[in-house]
Amino acid sequence: MRWGRRPAALEEAPSVERTGIELRDVVHSYGDRTVLTGVSLTLTERRVGVIGANGSGKSTFARLLNGLVLPTEGTVLVDGLDTATRAREVRRRVGFVFQDPDAQIVHPTVAEDLAFGPTNQGVPADEIERRVADVLDRYGLAGHRDHPAHLLSGGQKQLLAIAGVLVMRPERIVFDEPTTLLDLANARRVARVIEELPQDVVVVSHHLELLDGFDRVLVFEDGRVAADGPPAETVPWYTARMG
């Protein structure tokens, strides 16, 4: 398996106006329970990490970034597009990788699952075929093309989930705890893969070392951003605070 190769084909990202993801006074409540209170920030960095205790609002924040969750108050803009009204375009721009790959893989075999997203986007069949072959090869899944997805290892499943997003050619990818369910070796592999993506990424993680080379790390606390800065400042602040 090869993990280290830098993806070539995916670097030809479409050139559009990229102004970043902007949150303006965002509040989010589930029913009458408010879990995010007045978050305002703009993400333009290539590598953004999100850390914080369980229940602090990280997943809700992550889901706001591609419109899976809409703000109860305030606005989320992706390259100027409002997630509340331009959901389709926003989701094309921002891919999402979930913690549990089993919930994200919806077709019985590997290649079929990879084709799902681009098929939905209306990508022509021969182009889908090309993209699928490309990611299968890149993520060491070429020999598993027609295998049932459920026979893959946990690490392979997470790579399949990531590949299933990459074939949709998003400009940014949000990861919600992508390594939490993996053993150490597989967590490292997935971390390497994320590190080498040409896309901008936002990564929610409890694996703090995954955020080492990141440009910016947000620390969530009770639905607020309690700290925001380079990992060299925010990560030690967070660990000290956790005691």
């Binding site: 989701r91 094309r92 919930a103 919806v106 084709a115 939905n120």
Partner: protein, 211 residues
Amino acid sequence: MQSLYRPGNSLVHRVPAGLKLALLAALGVGLFLTGSLPVVAGAVVLVVAVGLLAARLPWSALLVQVRPVLIWLAVLLAFHVLVTDPRTGAVAVLRLLALLVAAAVVTATTRVTALVAVVERLASPLRVVGVRPARIGLVIAMTLRFIPLVADRAARVREAQAARGASRVGLGIVVPLLVQVLRMAATVGEALDARGADDAPARRRLARAAS
């Protein structure tokens, strides 16, 4: 659950899925219209030959769907031997055998996606009453995907209960399993959204992931 599909590029693999299903249906009808032992026995030989020689499948691929029902074939034969006559029994058993092997050949040489696409095409007249054929296809594919997964999770819940000393494992697994499945279903829904399931143009067909 193993995938029944065996990748290959034999002639049989390359026959369109719709045609294969149509031939399978025709074979089924034909077999039940005839009561001739030589014809039915010939059909068995024919489908086995198609499977082994034309599709270049191993014996195991042909037998995979026969083995679970062998006992019933034996029961059927015994029934006929006792109630009617051995010849009728042989016809009944060989008829089913031919169909089972033919079905095995079709599933071993056809991707689920391609079969699902045929179902979508057959369902497309329902579009006038508001049914989205692509949705039917997705539901079939997701059912095939999630059955083994839920079975795995059920086994894990059972193990966890056994590890904690539950002696009789019965209905006790239902609630924890249901909680897990519902929680996952919420995420699956989000994942479908994130992967553009709703963006699909109404007339889309499942792409052939086939090479």
